[in-house]
């Protein structure tokens, strides 16, 4: 076994040093009735070449991967090109074979990289503090609600509009099922945005927080400044959820216009799709709330010689110190994905990231226009959008998708599963990875 270095002789030597004769003796504290008498029923071990071929076959069985088909799926998981440099740097063993930087002397690399991630994300979100990452956008949002509950102890309600990603809402529901905070929905209006009248109606002084996804699940842009104003007037916290952070290349940073907490999903920034995980849960807030924040935080410090260095900070919020009274139970987070995001955003840079946002938006505009020219296809909502939009079909959605599949197009997400009233609708996402030919194939597939 190539990963286990111990030869027979090594083992003999070790047993001798320990003073026993047989490896089995090491397990004597396990009551004999629990000791397995037969081998585990698992497939026999495979050699590397055979294993690679086997896994290649499984990978190729995923015929819908973005290498094989034109992908118009977004819905919280956005396919962006990852520069070759990102992945090659992630393969550096010093990064990926290390763990949480408990020992700063041996972890300045990870610590500085996470500090950079935090700082860059702070710039992007317009917030003062960003933590070292959460599991994903959904759990980050759920934790934000729990934090809002801690900050607004006397307010038992929170508002989670239907324009928020259904899976984010599901995860929040699970997380809050035992908390002192009840989730209420808010309807969406005819343009595909949160219904402000409904929101106004729900807001009152027992609301702890309002969650707004921007762009929302339909791809539509919410009137975030207005909603923040309404929320703050009611004395509640505004949690802005950004599942497509590329939009922040174009849109105002939520923190700048007053969002109290910004959560999000940043797998699109250098980590990639990976069938939906690992995600990169973004969590940002203001300095005054930092002590209530879940998760780890890296801070800058100076060593004895006056040199800059980085350390884990504000740890007394965390479970390993505060145990049951911690701000969260999170321990292992998504460190390598945060590193990927830091490298990705450093390469994109100020100019590239804005440009990227522009390309996404322009491609989506153009695609909506071209699809709209197809008979029996029309835009469902009229609100402004970033790189995703909803179209309504006058044919059966599943059949339409099957026809598109046959042409190598994954034509978006059918919305009926989440919104029965939108059973004739598709959520279509367009990024810089799509091209004009794909859009034409999509359009003609809807025609034929």
């Amino acid at each position: 076994m190539r990963y286990i270095p111990h030869t027979k002789e090594d083992i003999r030597g070790m047993l001798g040093a320990i003073g026993i004769r047989d490896v089995d003796e090491l397990f004597n504290t396990i009551p004999s009735e629990y000791r397995l008498s037969s081998a585990l029923n698992l497939p026999d071990g495979l050699d590397e070449p055979t294993l690679i071929i086997e896994l290649q076959k499984m990978a190729q069985a995923n015929r819908g991967s973005a290498d094989n088909m034109a992908l118009f799926l977004g819905a919280g998981a956005y396919h962006h090109h990852i520069p070759a440099a990102v992945d090659q740097l992630l393969l550096r063993g010093e990064f990926f074979t290390a763990y949480t930087p408990y020992q700063p002397e041996a972890s300045q690399g990870t610590l500085q990289a996470i500090f950079e991630y935090q700082s860059i994300m702070a710039a992007l979100t317009g917030c003062e503090v960003v933590n070292a990452s959460m599991y994903d956008g959904a759990t980050a949002t759920a934790e934000a609600l729990l934090m809002a509950g801690r900050l607004k102890k006397k307010r038992p309600r929170c508002l989670l509009p239907r324009t928020v990603h259904p899976e984010v809402r599901d995860v929040c529901a699970t997380y809050l099922s035992d908390a002192d905070l009840v989730i209420e929905q808010v309807a969406y209006g005819e343009f595909g945005q949160t219904d402000l009248d409904a929101l106004a109606g729900s807001l009152s002084d027992d609301v702890a927080a309002v969650v707004i996804q921007q762009p929302n699940f339909f791809g539509c842009l919410e009137d975030l400044p207005k909603i923040i104003e309404m929320t703050h007037q009611a004395g509640a916290l505004l949690i802005a959820v950004v599942l497509e952070p590329v939009s922040l290349g174009l849109l105002e940073a939520p923190g700048v216009i007053g969002a109290d907490i910004v959560t999000g999903e940043a797998m699109g920034l250098g980590t990639g799709l990976n069938f939906g995980g690992p995600g990169l849960g973004l969590f940002a807030t203001s300095m005054k709330n930092a002590w209530h924040m879940p998760g780890r935080l890296v801070g800058q410090t100076t060593d004895q010689d006056g040199k800059r260095g980085f350390v884990l900070t504000m740890s007394t919020r965390e479970q390993h110190i505060r145990r049951a009274r911690a701000t969260s139970n999170i321990c292992t987070n998504e460190g390598l994905c945060a590193l990927a995001a830091a490298i990705y955003l450093s390469l994109m840079g100020e100019g590239g990231f804005k440009k990227l946002a522009g390309i996404n938006a322009a491609n989506a505009q153009e695609t909506r226009k071209r699809l709209g020219r197809v008979k029996g296809v029309e835009p469902r909502f009229d609100a402004p959008f970033f790189n995703e939009f909803v179209v309504k079909l006058n044919q059966d959605v599943d059949q339409a998708l099957d026809k598109l599949k046959a042409r190598g197009v994954l034509g978006g997400l059918p919305l009926g599963r989440y919104y029965p009233e939108l059973a004739d609708c598709l959520l279509v996402c367009v990024t810089e990875t799509n091209n004009s030919e794909q859009v034409d194939r999509f359009a003609s597939g809807l025609e034929g």
């Binding site: 320990i18 998981a77 990926f96």
Partner: protein, 462 residues
């Protein structure tokens, strides 16, 4: 002794990536759009557009690559030297895992791909669940949790759902004082009160202590086995009986599974719920702090409560099933950390049952070898044989006028990542050493020698 480079005398004067920007310097390369970028700002409400520069770095690609290459050099990883961080199972991360996880069919697969077009991924997840069930002895596994603590949260929610289905969610969870901090924190998240159970003087839990604490408001006991002191909870059978008799359930923190694969199975001991840490036991990289993966296994009775979606095999097809009325719901978007699962799956397929057992045997052997090497130099708080990790207290260090922290920091100069220190809390000045099965005997010897030599320094040159 080998000395790893970069473990001492670290020079960290690299500037931050967002410092020293030169306006207009570029590191990106983007395709042309087919839509009209210049019209975009006019299509969107002015009030929603960014008013100020973002403040992102402005760097060329060479500078970025050099920056992160240099930063990496200031890190210690398993690839640069032994990393005996107790409770973390810092074993070697096989390279084939990294190759396989990057296959485009896995890496570039959208989670909402129609199920007929992602059968490979679903099959992998289905098979991985089956393997984990076999290894642990549970009826059913969910792969959704993103890390160990997330698995704990999921497991506790399942326990609560179970009790609710019986009419009473109950109020308390028993957690030993040696438990990892995530255990009480996870219990709390589901609204349970945490009752601390004192470990016995032999480092394990006395079933009588449990019996004394148990009542009809105890939802579960959360036990770690082998526990965080590296000791097997030999009373597990009795403890399970006691808790079950009181109508409670038994949760086992499976972070230490690396010591018992193929040797015994928590499911066989009557444990009801367990979380795996794929990033520990199953060789997936720790990534400087994740991503991990924390699947949860449950006994048959708890299966209805597992989170959605769950993968089923129907004839020759793998499907994601959402319609599970008793489910606790969703704990994460999509299906869990799939990229991590691919690595763990690859590892299990390479190791096979025999290989996994060998890994556990050698992990335990290595820990006991270190124990034997240091037992005269450091104080062993417990007499019981260790499993995959060994804990020492600072009793003998104090006599030498040094602390556990001093010893840990000095180990860095010897090219070793320090063990876990000051945890578990029940051992004074604890040093928790977990060598894993992938370190050679020479490295184990060097580690022992390094500790001895540090103690010697303390003696001779206080």
């Amino acid at each position: 002794m080998n000395t790893a480079s970069g473990t001492s005398g670290l020079l960290h004067t690299e500037s931050l990536i967002f410092e020293n920007n030169h306006e207009g310097r570029e590191g990106y390369s983007l395709p042309a759009s087919f839509g009209k970028v210049e019209e975009i700002e006019s299509k969107l409400p002015q009030s929603l557009l960014r008013s100020q520069p973002i403040g992102l770095p402005q760097k060329d690609e060479p500078t970025v690559v050099r920056h992160y290459t240099r930063l990496s050099a200031w890190n210690h990883g398993v690839d640069t030297g032994m990393y005996p961080l107790g409770s973390c199972t810092m074993k070697y991360n096989p390279r084939i895992n990294e190759t396989v996880a990057r296959l485009p069919g896995f890496a570039r697969l959208h989670p909402y791909t129609p199920q007929d077009l992602c059968q490979g991924a679903l099959r992998l997840m289905w098979e991985l669940s089956r393997y984990l069930e076999e290894i642990s002895g549970f009826a059913r596994v969910t792969l959704q949790p993103a890390a160990g603590a997330h698995g704990e949260f999921t497991g506790i929610k399942i326990i609560k759902a179970y009790h609710e289905s019986k009419g009473n969610p109950r109020k308390k969870i028993l957690v030993p004082d040696s438990a990892h901090g995530t255990n009480p924190a996870s219990s709390k998240l589901s609204g349970y009160k945490v009752i601390e159970i004192e470990s016995g003087s032999d480092g394990i839990i006395n079933p009588q202590t449990v019996a004394a604490a148990v009542d009809d408001q105890v939802a579960a006991i959360m036990i770690t086995n082998p526990n965080t002191l590296g000791l097997f909870e030999s009373g597990i059978g009795e403890i399970v009986d006691i808790v079950h008799k009181a109508g409670g359930l038994v949760y086992c923190d499976g972070a230490n599974l690396n010591s018992i694969m193929g040797v015994c199975r928590p499911g066989d001991m009557g444990v009801d719920v367990l979380q795996f840490n794929l990033h520990k036991t199953f060789s997936t990289p720790h990534g400087g702090g994740g991503p991990g993966s924390g699947p949860v296994g449950v006994c048959a009775e708890l299966e209805p409560f597992l989170p959605v979606p769950l993968i089923e095999k129907q004839d020759d097809r793998y499907v994601l099933v959402e319609d599970r009325p008793q489910s606790i719901g969703r704990v994460k978007s999509y299906y869990g950390n799939f990229g991590v699962m691919v690595r763990a799956y690859t590892y299990i397929r390479e190791m096979g049952g025999r290989g996994l057992k060998q890994a556990s045997q050698m992990a335990v052997l290595a820990a006991n070898y270190i124990r034997a090497g240091l037992k005269d130099d450091l104080h062993l708080p417990f007499d019981r044989p260790s499993m995959h990790e060994v804990v020492f207290s600072d009793e003998k260090l104090e006599a030498l006028g040094i602390t556990t922290l001093d010893l840990a920091k000095r180990l860095l100069d010897y090219g070793f990542h320090p063990p876990t220190i000051y945890f578990p809390l029940v051992v004074h000045g604890a040093l928790l050493i977990e060598p894993t099965e992938t370190e050679t005997i020479e490295t184990l010897d060097e580690f022992v020698e390094a500790v001895k030599s540090i103690l010697n320094e303390a003696k001779t040159d206080p």
